[in-house]
Structure formats: structure tokens, C-alpha cells
């Protein structure tokens, strides 16, 4: 009921109508959304369930948006589909944290929905949002309701309903914002941990904030006013664009084929050829050369059509068609030269390992157990997909095992698999001790597949306890936490809080059934001395005399101690 009331209000307050957006409209709307998100970053960061310093959703999503708009900020492109594709590309590489990865998938869905469209209507947008929510759900292994996923889905549903009522994008945007806000407000009802912490879902709020920014732009409130072109169309009320392909929603494969060839002919018209290929459905089309010889590079679902067209103009050389299913759009577009270079290189060392590591001590430990390359980051500094990708590409091996060492980095790590020509396997480590255990399980004799399996198994053989200081007051389950308390976590779950560190450590160890293990490695963090750590170890040894305890300088930020039991 309330829903309908707000719709009614919107419609009476409406000042103008916009029936189609072109690339520049989309660009400005998204820029406004990104700016609004950046403005509210800290507020979204504060929507943190656990009282521990961890991957901040606002910062991660904003960093992802900033990466998304990198390529469009200065673009004069008017084709909406092209702007959307660039956004998706930037977001894919810049994705940070789980929320960033999901956001990048939303933008990818949007790009797929708007693929090849010069302009788009409300109906197009509704379909694109359907695609966005579908890909968002697919991005996570176990979708959880009461998160950004729910908000995107309900927003997409609202878009469908809105598109059926009318073709005004201004009205639709407002309805989407309303739907998103209500969806965000409901997240605590769906996810008990949110309710307990007294917050709404941060990722959902982030998505909603972007929509709010877009809406502010559309109705002319944000800095940039609608463009002249947009105003011209304001009163236009036309039928929805032709060529709305509902089947698009169920299309399984993302990018079809990459087609590259050289064309030799006479009086070749580069501009005309480029436009024709785009009209034939070519995406990311590059046509370069002169009247006698040019190179065509495009992505299409019908390579035959493009090749036939080429043959009609002259003779084709060096035809290369690749299925993009296993290869990202982003990588393929720029990999031509790299491919050639790679083939000239001597055979690489068989297997490299790359891990996300925080703390100078931990860096040394990881290197000492044979890690090939480090990506700095972790709990509060989630590396982007691009940073992980760069490290994977930089190591001198064709096969790479990637250790995210943080639950909020696993998703961005998974993105890397499709972005590189190297064979990459993610051992889904959630803590640094798990990463170390995985590396110790590396078998120098075994091949890549066996090692992936062995390391994944080794990672699960270690239990991680963390001791840190609560950054706010909260109740989680039956644990009451006051700001400034020492808190103990076992495998990421809060188990105890209090003022006496010794007591907290003892309780935490007890909760992890420490007597069942043989060896405990005590990594002490930034600000703790070796002496203090030795004292702590002595305390543990007094209680559990059969345990072997090893004290190691981890130097990790935020966490006083990280304990690994195995």
C-alpha cells in the first residue's frame, strides 16, 4: 500500500519526462551515482556488523565505482551500450571486496542488457536490471537474502513493474530508488545478524546510494544538469525502442566470439567498415589501418556474418576466432601483443603461488614457506581484482595458485581466473594461517592439479583464532561487546569479549578445543613486543602443557594476536 502511495506522489511531482537515454546521458547519470556513493562512503563503512576492523563496504564499493568510471569520464561516446561495456570492464578489474565484486557483476549485467544499444528506454533498463540481478546472484556461491542481492533483485522487480506502467525514465528512477530504500530497510528482517547489530545491510545501502545519485542527476538536483540532448527529448513520448529482445535475458554466454582478421583490399573505408560491423552486432569493435590494409577486431555472437562481410570487401588474412567463454572481454581486447611476447618467452617455472598478506612479519613467513609473490592487503585493505591480476600476470609461471587469505577477498580473486591466460586456481583461504598451511601442503613433486587439491585440504587443517579490540559496542549472539573490549574470534566467529586479555585468550583457546591440537603458532601483531608475546605463550603453556607453542612476529595491523592451531 505504502508503495503505491509513493508512486502516486512521484507522478504528481514530476516535472518532465525522459523516454530514452543515450551514452552520454548514461555516463552522466552513473558519474552522479558514483559521486553520491563516494560522498556517503564513510556512513556505509559504519554499517558494520562485527565490531572488528574489516573490509569496509562503502570504501570497497566506492573504489569499485571509481574504477568503473575511469574509462568513461572523458568519453564522448554516445552509444549507450558502449558506455555500459566500459563501465563493466572498469568495474571488473577494479572490484574490491565481496560487495565490489557483486557491484561489478551488476554493471556487467547492465552492460549485457544494453549491449549494442545506441539508446535505451525504460523497458530496456528493466530488462538490463533483470540481467544485472541474475549475474549478481551468480557471482556468489551461496546467495544470502537480506544482502545487496535482495536489494538488486527487488529493484529489478520494481523496474519491470514500472516499465509496464509507462516509459518515463525519470519516473522509473524514482520508483527504483523507493523500491531500493524499502528493500534496504527490510534487510534486518531477513538477516538476523543485521538485526542484532542494529544495522541495515551495507552492500544493499551502497547500491541504493548509487541509485539515489543517479536519480538526483535525472531530476536535475546534482551538480550537472541534464544535457541539452536530454532536454530535447524530454517531451518526446515515443513507443519503446524497437528491437527489445526479451530472449536476451536467458542468453547464457556472455561475449560470444572474438574475431580478428586483416583485410586487404582497395579503397577501404575504415569509418564505414567500423560502423557496418557495429551495426551487424560487433562489440568493442576496432578497425584500424588504411585504404589497402586494415585490421578488424570485434566481439560478436555471429562471427560468420562478420567474416562474410569482410570477404565481400577484399581478401582476409590471419583470421583468428576465439570463443570468449573462457576469456574475458577485457583481456582479449589488449592481449594481441602480449600473446606474441608470451610465446617467445622461455618455458615458465611450473607453478607459482600468490597470496594476499598483511604485516611485515607475515610477509617474511609467507616468503619463508615458499610463496612466489605477495599482494599487500587483507582485512581492512581488500586488494582489487586488478591488483591480484597484476600479481598473477607478473609471476614467472603459467600456473598460479592464489591464496586470498580473507573471506572478503575470495570473490575478487575468483574474478582473476577469467581475466588471465594463465591457469589460476583459488585455494579459498580465509585467514593468513590457512594460507600458510596451504603453502606448507605444497608438494614439490606433484603437478598443478594435485597441488590445488592438496593445498585446499591442507588449508582446512588449521584453526584460526584472532584477538583484537572492539571498535564499537554491539551484541552478537549471546556475546555482549563494549567498545574497547578485547574480543576473541574463532574462524571468524566472535566467541568472547572482555577487558582482561589473558582471560580472553584463554577462553578463545578453550572454545576452539585447543587440547585436540599439537602445535599453536602465536603471531603477535603491530605494537606487541616479542617479550609480551613470549609471556602470553608461557601462560598458554601453563594451562596446556602438551602443546607445542611457537611465537612468531606477524606484525599484522589491528589484531593483537593471531593464533593458528593444528
Amino acid at each position: 500500500m505504502q508503495n503505491q502511495k509513493s508512486y502516486a506522489q512521484v507522478r504528481t511531482q514530476r516535472l518532465r519526462r525522459i523516454s530514452v537515454f543515450d551514452g552520454q546521458d548514461l555516463k552522466k547519470a552513473i558519474l552522479a551515482g558514483a559521486a553520491w556513493l563516494e560522498e556517503h562512503r564513510d556512513a556505509i563503512d559504519a554499517l558494520n556488523v562485527f565490531p572488528v576492523p574489516d573490509g569496509d563496504t562503502g570504501s570497497n564499493m566506492s573504489a569499485t565505482m571509481q574504477a568503473a568510471i575511469r574509462e568513461i569520464v572523458a568519453s564522448e561516446e554516445t552509444v549507450a551500450g558502449t558506455i555500459a561495456a566500459k563501465l563493466a570492464h572498469g568495474a571488473l578489474l577494479g572490484a574490491r571486496g565481496n560487495s565490489g565484486v557483486i557491484l561489478s557483476q551488476i554493471l556487467r549485467g547492465l552492460a549485457q542488457g544494453l549491449d549494442k544499444k545506441q539508446t535505451f528506454s525504460a523497458t530496456d533498463l528493466a530488462l538490463a536490471l533483470q540481467e544485472a540481478q541474475r549475474l549478481a546472484y551468480r557471482a556468489v556461491l551461496k546467495p544470502v537474502e537480506g544482502t545487496i542481492l535482495t536489494v538488486v533483485r527487488e529493484t529489478a522487480e520494481a523496474a519491470q513493474a514500472s516499465a509496464q506502467r509507462g516509459d518515463d525514465l525519470v519516473a522509473m528512477m524514482q520508483e527504483l530508488v523507493m523500491a531500493a530504500r524499502q528493500s534496504v530497510a527490510r534487510t534486518p528482517d531477513l538477516l538476523p545478524t543485521l538485526k542484532q547489530a542494529g544495522v541495515v545491510d551495507s552492500g544493499g545501502q551502497g547500491f541504493c546510494t548509487i541509485l539515489e545519485g543517479v536519480w538526483r542527476y535525472v531530476r536535475g538536483e546534482s551538480g550537472a544538469s541534464p544535457t541539452a540532448a536530454m532536454q530535447e527529448r524530454v517531451l518526446e513520448s515515443s513507443l519503446p525502442e524497437t528491437g527489445v529482445r526479451r530472449g536476451r535475458v536467458t542468453v547464457e554466454e556472455e561475449f560470444g566470439y572474438e574475431v580478428v582478421f586483416l583485410l586487404r583490399g582497395e579503397d577501404l573505408d575504415v569509418e564505414k567498415i567500423r560502423q557496418t560491423i557495429i551495426d551487424m552486432g560487433g562489440v568493442s569493435t576496432v578497425v584500424a589501418g588504411d585504404e589497402q590494409m586494415l585490421k578488424v577486431h570485434t566481439h560478436t555472437e555471429q562471427p560468420g556474418k562478420i567474416l562474410d562481410y569482410g570477404v565481400s570487401l577484399g581478401s582476409l588474412l590471419d583470421i583468428n576466432i576465439e570463443n570468449l567463454q573462457e576469456q574475458s572481454l577485457a583481456y582479449a581486447a589488449e592481449s594481441e601483443a602480449e600473446h606474441a611476447a608470451e610465446q617467445d618467452r622461455p618455458p615458465a617455472k611450473q607453478i607459482a603461488t600468490v597470496a594476499v598478506v598483511a604485516g611485515p612479519g607475515f610477509e617474511k613467513v609467507f616468503q619463508s614457506v615458499g610463496l612466489t609473490a605477495i599482494v599487500p592487503g587483507g582485512q581492512t585493505m581488500n586488494p582489487s581484482t586488478e591488483e591480484l591480476l597484476a600479481a598473477v600476470n607478473a609471476v614467472d609461471a603459467d600456473k598460479v595458485i592464489l591464496l586470498p587469505n580473507n573471506s572478503n577477498v575470495i570473490l575478487s580473486a575468483r574474478q582473476v581466473v577469467d581475466l588471465t591466460s594463465k591457469e589460476v586456481y583459488i585455494v579459498p583461504t580465509e585467514t593468513m594461517p590457512q594460507g600458510i598451511a596451504a603453502l606448507l601442503g605444497f608438494n614439490f613433486e606433484a603437478d598443478f592439479e594435485s597441488n590445488c587439491k592438496a593445498m585446499t585440504e591442507a588449508a582446512t587443517s588449521v584453526q584460526t583464532a584472532e584477538i583484537t579490540t572492539a571498535i564499537r559496542t554491539v551484541q552478537i549472539g549471546d556475546v555482549r561487546v563494549r567498545e574497547g573490549d578485547y574480543i576473541g574470534l574463532v574462524n571468524g566467529n566472535l566467541v568472547i569479549a572482555g577487558r582482561d586479555m589473558k582471560h580472553i585468550i584463554g577462553e578463545t583457546l578453550q572454545r576452539m578445543n585447543i587440547e585436540r591440537y599439537e602445535i599453536v603458532t602465536l603471531y603477535f601483531g603491530e605494537g606487541i613486543t616479542q617479550r609480551q608475546a613470549e609471556e602470553t605463550a608461557k601462560g598458554i603453556k601453563q594451562k596446556y602443557s602438551q602443546l607445542e607453542i611457537e611465537v612468531v612476529d606477524g606484525g599484522q595491523p589491528h589484531y593483537t594476536y593471531i593464533l593458528a592451531a593444528e
Binding site: K364, V365, Q367, S368, V369, G370, I436, A437, L440, G441, F442, N443, F444, E445, S450, A454, S461, E518, I519, T521, E548, E550, V552, E566
Partner: protein, 286 residues
């Protein structure tokens, strides 16, 4: 008619078993300071590890002299041997193989000339002992030198040895670290699993605890193709039995357990347990 089999003390074949099988063992020497002990003759395994624990300085080892081999070969010739097959530890780990060759090539003219083939097993301890014991059986059964030699080489090629150590320190100090150097920088205490390839020490894995190490070795054994024979070498009963228990979860055949001698103890340290696995003919082993 008779082929005689010779090896050295690093095969870890007990004296009485060797005697019964007709195998001649040429001992290496272990030194504690200035005191020299013939491996397995003047110093048995148990006494060695006791001495090792008590000693302030680490023991050293040395290969048998060519003279020791000449003595052994000469005696066998005098006993009527028609040929000798002499199988020794990896030439990359010891000069023993070289010493045996020198001995053969410089045998005095007074010794009757018979064929003496010397094999570098590229292995050690239980990694070569089964091949040697089988060779002795075959020699008794009257097989010729070429045939026995071929069988020994085949057996060795199908044998893989894995060892879990308390520390790499002894391997390192003895200068036999080989490819396991890759594990040396480890800041965390581990129970390294090593193997031999082409006669050199290579790294395998670095489990944190003994129980994990034994379990991993059992998994590695299980992952190998069909197994013809498994044997264990231990520095003490405890480690050997722990390893045996794990192995028995994946292998139900006979599982002889040998004691690591003083020379191997010097280079691997206390708390070492090794397993040698012989893959069935036709399946791949290393």
C-alpha cells in the same frame, strides 16, 4: 657359477640377515671426535642414537677405503665367486661407489680375474635393501650376473623412498641438502618430508606436525600405483611404529621395519622415519 652380492652398511641390512643371505657388507665409518666406529659392526643403531644425544659435537662419516673393498672382493674370489655384483648408496651422497670402482680397477694381479659389476643405486637404506636381498636370492638360485643386475636395476627403478625428518639441520650440515635447500628458509618449525631423485635429496612437503607428516606419507603411498612391497626404516621404535600404523591404513601387505644405521643417523638426525615403496612391474614408480 656363483654370483656374490656386496653392498655397504647404508643398506641398513642387519648383520645376521646379511650373513644368512650370503651378502657381504662393507662398512662405512662414523667418527665422534677422534673416535672411529665401523658402522653396524662397532656401533649399532641404538648405541649410535644414544651417543648422538649425549655428544656435544656432531659425528662425521667417511666412505670405506678402496682397500676395504679390495679385501672384500679378494675374499669372495678366494671363496670361489664367479662374478660379483656390488650395489651401493647414491654416488651423489657418498664416495662409496667411487671407492668400490677404484678397488675393482686396482685389484692386484694376484687376484683371479672375474667380472665385478658395481651399481650406483641412486638410493639409500630401504630404498635399495630389497633389491639387494632379492639379488642374493637370485644368486643362490643360480641366475647369472647379467640377469641379476638387470633385475636389481629394474627393482631400483620402481622403488621410491620418502622420509620424514625432525629437522633438515643434519642433512644441511652433512652437505647433502640438494634440492631440499628450498625448504631451508622456513621460519616455522616443520617436519619436512624429503625424497631422493636421481640420487639427490629433494623436497616433498613441509607438514607442521609428525602426525600430519605420517598421514601425508600414507596418502602419498596410497596415491602411488599398485604396490609390490613396502618397508620402513626407523631411527627408533616410536617413530617407526607411528609411521607403520599410518601406512597400514592404506597397505595391508607385509611391512618389515629396519633400523637406520649410524651413517644415515648422522645425516638425518634423530626422529627420522623412512618408507620405501616398490611399485608393481608395469605401473609407474619412482
Amino acid at each position: 657359477m656363483a654370483v656374490r652380492i656386496v653392498t655397504d652398511s647404508t643398506a641398513d641390512i642387519p648383520q645376521d640377515q646379511a650373513r644368512a643371505a650370503g651378502i657381504t657388507i662393507v662398512p662405512l665409518t662414523v667418527f665422534f671426535g677422534d673416535e672411529a666406529y665401523l658402522d653396524g659392526i662397532e656401533l649399532d643403531s641404538a648405541s649410535f642414537y644414544k651417543k648422538l644425544a649425549a655428544s656435544k659435537t656432531l659425528p662425521r662419516t667417511s666412505q670405506p677405503s678402496p682397500a676395504a673393498f679390495q679385501q672384500a672382493y679378494t675374499r669372495l674370489v678366494e671363496e670361489g665367486a664367479d662374478a660379483i655384483l656390488s650395489v651401493h648408496l647414491s654416488a651423489k651422497l657418498s664416495g662409496t661407489f667411487q671407492s668400490a670402482r677404484t678397488a675393482r680397477d686396482t685389484l692386484p694381479d694376484t687376484v683371479k680375474e672375474i667380472p665385478i659389476d658395481i651399481i650406483d643405486s641412486q638410493s639409500i637404506s630401504v630404498g635399495m635393501s630389497r633389491a639387494i636381498l632379492l639379488a642374493a636370492q637370485e644368486a643362490r638360485a643360480g641366475l647369472g650376473l647379467a640377469e641379476i643386475k638387470a633385475r636389481v636395476l629394474d627393482q631400483l627403478a620402481r622403488t621410491r623412498i620418502l622420509a620424514v625428518l625432525d629437522t633438515l639441520e643434519f642433512v644441511r650440515r652433512g652437505g647433502r641438502i640438494g634440492g631440499a635447500r628450498a625448504m631451508l628458509g622456513n621460519m616455522l618449525s616443520v617436519k619436512p618430508i624429503v625424497s631422493l631423485r636421481d640420487g639427490e635429496v629433494i623436497p616433498v612437503e613441509q607438514p607442521r606436525t609428525r602426525s600430519k607428516a605420517y598421514a601425508r606419507i600414507a596418502q602419498l603411498v596410497q596415491a602411488m600405483a599398485r604396490v609390490e612391497h613396502v618397508s620402513i626404516a626407523e631411527s627408533n621404535d616410536e617413530v617407526g611404529h607411528q609411521l607403520a600404523q599410518e601406512i597400514q591404513t592404506v597397505y595391508t601387505g607385509e611391512l618389515p621395519i629396519y633400523r637406520l644405521g649410524a651413517v644415515l643417523g648422522t645425516h638425518t638426525g634423530p626422529g627420522t622415519a623412512a618408507v620405501a615403496v616398490v611399485a608393481e612391474q608395469g605401473s609407474k614408480g619412482r
